[in-house]
Amino acid sequence: MLEIEGLNAYYGRAHILHGVGFSMGRGEVLALMGRNGAGKSTTMKAVMGLVPPQAGRVIFEGHTIVGREPFEIARLGIGYVPEERRVFSELSVMENLSVAQRPKREGAPHWTPERLFQLFPNLGRMRDRPGGAMSGGEQQMLTIARTLMGNPKLVLLDEPSEGLAPVIVEEMAKTILALKSEGLSVLISEQNLHFAGSVADRATIIEKGLIRFTGTMDELKADEAVRAQYLSV
């Protein structure tokens, strides 16, 4: 459903992506792995149109999306959850959700606040609380819930486990598996191999703006040389 080929992107004047390419199938969880600064976040931002790619092709369900505005890409059914969470701190939980609300989409699970509160019971108990008054873990749940309100088919999750307590990280893993069981495709960027291993079907490794490895999670776990070289574990 997502095909990326020869993606090149600059961040300011630094050339970050040097021809990234990989593809994802429907209902798949793919882990985009690599060190800090390897280009994981930039890849996601380039797909989303937040960092305009200079060259390359991104095809989502038959639509070429390079050069489109972020809001158009979102409307095609790609949801983006940024690393820094970026909840609207002065808006309540309900308002945060309402900003992202989009009409029902063919071929994607349909989300309402009530359905999301079943997935994230904590949020249901703080509907009127401003986003800024929530803890880091709660904000992480809110930002995912908010993105789901757009009824995406594909969700880009940038470093979902970063800066979270181990118990919350476990909860996050369960959430991702729940989304997968709804039929959603999920691309996560991750440095934590334990976490990626517990949710992803396949992994692709990016290093210095190039893809260096693509394979199933089991293949990655078996390949000590690749892990040592690119993930420094």
């Binding site: 800090n36 600064g37 873990g137 486990s161 800066g163 307590a165 440095q191 191999l193 334990h194 420094s232």
Partner: protein, 253 residues
């Protein structure tokens, strides 16, 4: 041996919620003490009270034999408390060396000098510090273009420029690759031992915490719920329930 830092019954409330509630602990020279706990447990609040960024409601902070409660961050720094931040904070328009020189200039009380090039001051001392953190070969580069892990090491050099007795590190390895994390904390531990610096750090990476701390404090909802060596804390059922979980996603800790 008297501790470098002693915290007694520290407390802080925000709108009736006790963010930090009756917390006491101490750190000794050359030791690394880890402060862990769920998000929103009060770790950062605690840190901000230690270096004077936030006033405390209750309790006392004793550093090097004197009470520092109520002092400003600048004054706390002058007494010998260094700090690094969760998100790296360096001077982007200066080179790596100039970042360290800036700290040395401030430490030497030369901030108000209006003449003479800042670039020519404390060069040898700055280079010695950069050598210690392994950044000497990048001394001329701008901080704005450095890789994240390197920035963290520059921060470390800046933080120890005033020869602190205590170093406060807020999530020092956040955003780094696993092996870089271990390497940075190994470096920190080495410097701490060599210079007799007491280190207090918060961290979410259990590999780092269990490998590089002499003792661990666990904070939950503002209260200290456990305190001790790695094995004691790891096997504490209360800590497992509120923080560590089953260990499935954190490498079996």
């Amino acid at each position: 041996m008297t501790p470098v830092l002693e915290v007694r019954n520290l407390g802080k409330s925000f709108g009736g919620v006790r963010a930090v509630d009756d917390v006491s602990f101490s750190v000794e020279a050359g030791k690394l003490l880890a402060l862990i706990g769920p998000n929103g447990a009060g770790k950062t609040t605690c840190f901000n009270m230690l270096n004077g960024q936030l006033p405390s409601d209750r309790g006392e902070v004793i550093f090097d034999g004197r009470t520092i409660t109520g002092l400003k961050p600048r004054e706390v720094w002058r007494l010998g408390v260094g700090r690094t931040f969760q998100i790296t904070a360096t001077f982007a328009s200066m080179s790596v060396r100039e970042n360290v020189q800036m700290a040395l200039i401030s430490h030497a009380g030369e901030t108000w000098t209006l003449f003479g090039r800042a670039k020519d001051r404390h060069v040898a001392e700055a280079d010695a510090l950069l050598k210690q953190v392994g950044m000497l070969d990048q001394a001329e580069r701008a901080c704005g273009v450095l890789a994240y892990g390197d920035l963290k090491r520059v921060e470390l050099a800046v933080a120890i420029a005033n020869k602190p007795k205590l170093l406060l590190m807020d999530e020092p390895t956040a955003g780094m690759a696993p092996r870089e994390r271990i390497a940075l904390m190994a470096l920190t531990a080495e410097i701490a031992r060599e210079r007799g610096i007491a280190v207090l750090f918060t961290e979410h990476d259990m590999d780092v915490v269990f490998a590089h701390s002499d003792a661990i404090l666990v904070l939950d909802r503002g209260k200290l719920i456990a305190k001790g060596r790695a094995e004691e804390v790891r096997n504490d059922p209360a800590v497992r329930a509120v923080y560590l979980g089953s260990g499935a996603t954190s490498g079996g800790h």
